[in-house]
Subunit: 384 residues, 2 copies
């Protein structure tokens, strides 16, 4: 069947819409990505989203109206990706819409209960596209005592679990995160943790020393020399060797961390600093594998995704640190688009729900049970 | 099948929960009400609802958390009504939850689009009760260009349409509203309009002259004398004889209307005023029938519901104004509870959606199409 997955992230870049063809469900899922677009928000809507995210500027009237406005934009994104692919809308079977998260309260706090709120009215999408919509994926996991996130592990399981190879899925976004998929894994065998920094130290050094947003392709780092003293300093951070499960956020390896580091090593050439923090990022990833994964699990492949997979210097460092026995691939090399990853994930989660199957991963979210994610909204002409 | 209908109205009295047994769907629906309760809100939650209703005091954090809190309370109400009826929760087949409306924007206005927002997270209800939940009934009608209200006409059609009798369903709440169900009607033959005041003038006179909330059983009005001059004054209100479709709100026959009336007729005894405004209410209803309904439609029965159906003086006046050829009954006399009406309606609407059938009434809401209302959220163990 043809499914569109829709995702609108916290970066407010627009609506990611992935059109995929899917056969079967669960471990038998076959998937092919047909088309992907990012459908931009009109400026006024983007401003309303920003307003709706904050306790100070949000209100019930804004949220009520914005829910319907976003529904309209999600249906436009759906039409657009189908049009680009040359697929008549009548041939579209299902839409999986994550919606726009406007609040997420993972834990109880004073008078607030654990809860999450995604908007982008599914009735509007289903009506405008005449297609069933599955939406509100996170709420059921939270109802089951989970944190409603991460939801990608299930689709990673479906896409990458192998009968013959142990695999690590390394995401390098701001933070580095690894998902472990042993050979012949069941969902319960799978686990994930944050390895430490992803691009965030590299990007911050680029901003502060080179006034650039990031090190394109890792070219600047390639020109620098490794500094052992700086590398040892970085590696002494207690997060790196602390035992999983563990998770980190922007606060541990952010702006302040980099400012302290630059003050301490202010005599080093910028390229050397960049080369060294890139090596630190590579080593933090590989050291975590060596300490916590490889001793107990056979791993044949590491598949790297996220923005960091475009940093060739970083990828080469990881490759050489791991040695010949483990193959390092990027998502792009496998034909998966990093950009489209989350939109594709929600197409696959919709597929599972449509088949009446649970798709949260309790050991990843903390939920007490397997649950069927999301609810179904029917278009006018279904079911007559 | 056993269905619980859940409704939480704008009066914030608590959660109305009706347990019904339903067979079949559409015009073949057979329904029996088994139990009804009103499950009160904890004071703190009631305060949060009040806060969430206002543009000034609402915010995204509050709404996110309250959505989950209300979900919990809706599931408690469900368990409570089943327990009271002695029905094990495992025997419950379906829940239809209207939720709590926290905003309704019927028309476009500046940067706001037509939209509606009900909260009471269905995933929480489905998880806690292990029962499928149908919720968010109003959004699809609005997506189809309707106002998302009223949704009761469909259930009135299902419950009261007759092969042999033309019927009027007169609701007497604050406002009077009539639904016309000709003999052998199709959904398209059905129409409804506001007849004018319901209890609101009577209640306001009680408050201002007798410091009571309402005229219990119509006892005070029964002791008064009709004043022809006051009656003529009331009947001259242009709303009464204006052509349907028409709808009125609290502003036309509210506090201000009563204050003007009392100033103008300040020499009359209170009971006389009460008797006369009660007659005015009765006549506004019957005059509308005579002018706009009876000339074109054969009517055998008038069925009266709402708080006004408990005002015996008002009912007797309507009965005598209509004469012998039309039978006047109250919902209570027919075995339907006025209190439970809306909760029962959402159980029936859930039943239709569960059967894949549309249940809005486009001529009542203004929608462009018949649509299937609400979305389905599955409990953990369905569909394995």
């Amino acid at each position: 069947m043809y499914i569109v997955g829709l995702m609108s992230g916290t970066s407010l870049d627009g609506i990611d819409a992935a059109l995929v063809r899917v056969n079967d469900s669960g471990l038998k899922t076959e998937i092919e990505m047909i088309e992907f677009i990012t459908y931009p928000f009109p400026k006024a809507v983007e401003e309303e989203i920003v307003q709706s995210l904050s306790v100070d500027t949000s209100n019930v009237q804004l949220i009520c109206s914005l829910n319907f406005k976003l529904g309209k934009l999600f249906s436009e994104a759906t039409k657009e990706v189908c049009k680009k692919a040359g697929l008549p809308l009548e041939h579209l079977d299902l839409i999986g819409s994550h919606g726009q998260t406007i609040y997420h309260q993972p834990l109880r706090e004073k008078n607030l209960v654990p809860s999450t709120l995604q908007i982008g009215e599914p009735a509007v999408i289903a009506y405008d596209t005449n297609t069933p919509v599955i939406s509100n994926f996170r709420t059921m996991d939270m109802a089951a005592g989970g944190q409603g996130a991460p939801l990608v592990p299930y689709t990673e399981y479906v896409l990458y679990r192998s009968e013959t190879k142990g695999r690590l899925l390394q995401n390098i976004g701001g933070i580095g995160n690894v998902t472990v998929l042993p050979k012949q894994a069941t969902l319960e065998d799978m686990y994930a943790f944050d390895t430490g920094p992803g691009n965030m130290i590299i990007d911050e050094v680029c901003r502060q020393l080179f006034h650039r947003k990031y090190d394109e392709g890792g070219k600047m780092a390639k020109q620098g020399q490794m500094n052992e003293e700086l590398l040892a300093y970085c590696l002494s951070h207690p997060y790196i060797m602390s035992q999983p499960p563990k998770s980190t956020g922007r606060e541990l390896f952010g702006k302040q961390y980099v400012e302290t580091l630059l003050r301490k090593f202010n005599t080093l050439p910028g390229e050397d600093i960049l080369a060294t923090v890139t090596m630190f990022t590579a080593k933090s990833i590989v050291d975590n594998y060596r300490a916590f994964i490889l001793p107990k699990t056979d791993i044949e492949e590491v598949i790297i995704g996220g923005g960091g997979s475009y940093n060739n210097t970083l990828i080469e460092m990881i490759r050489s640190l791991l040695g010949d026995s483990i193959t390092v691939l990027t998502q792009e090399e496998l034909g998966y688009s990093s950009e489209a990853k989350e939109a594709v994930a929600f197409a696959l989660l919709a597929n599972e729900t449509f088949h009446g199957k649970p798709s949260n991963v309790p050991c990843a979210t903390g939920a007490k049970k397997d649950v069927i994610l999301g609810n179904i909204t029917f278009p006018p002409l279904t079911g007559y």
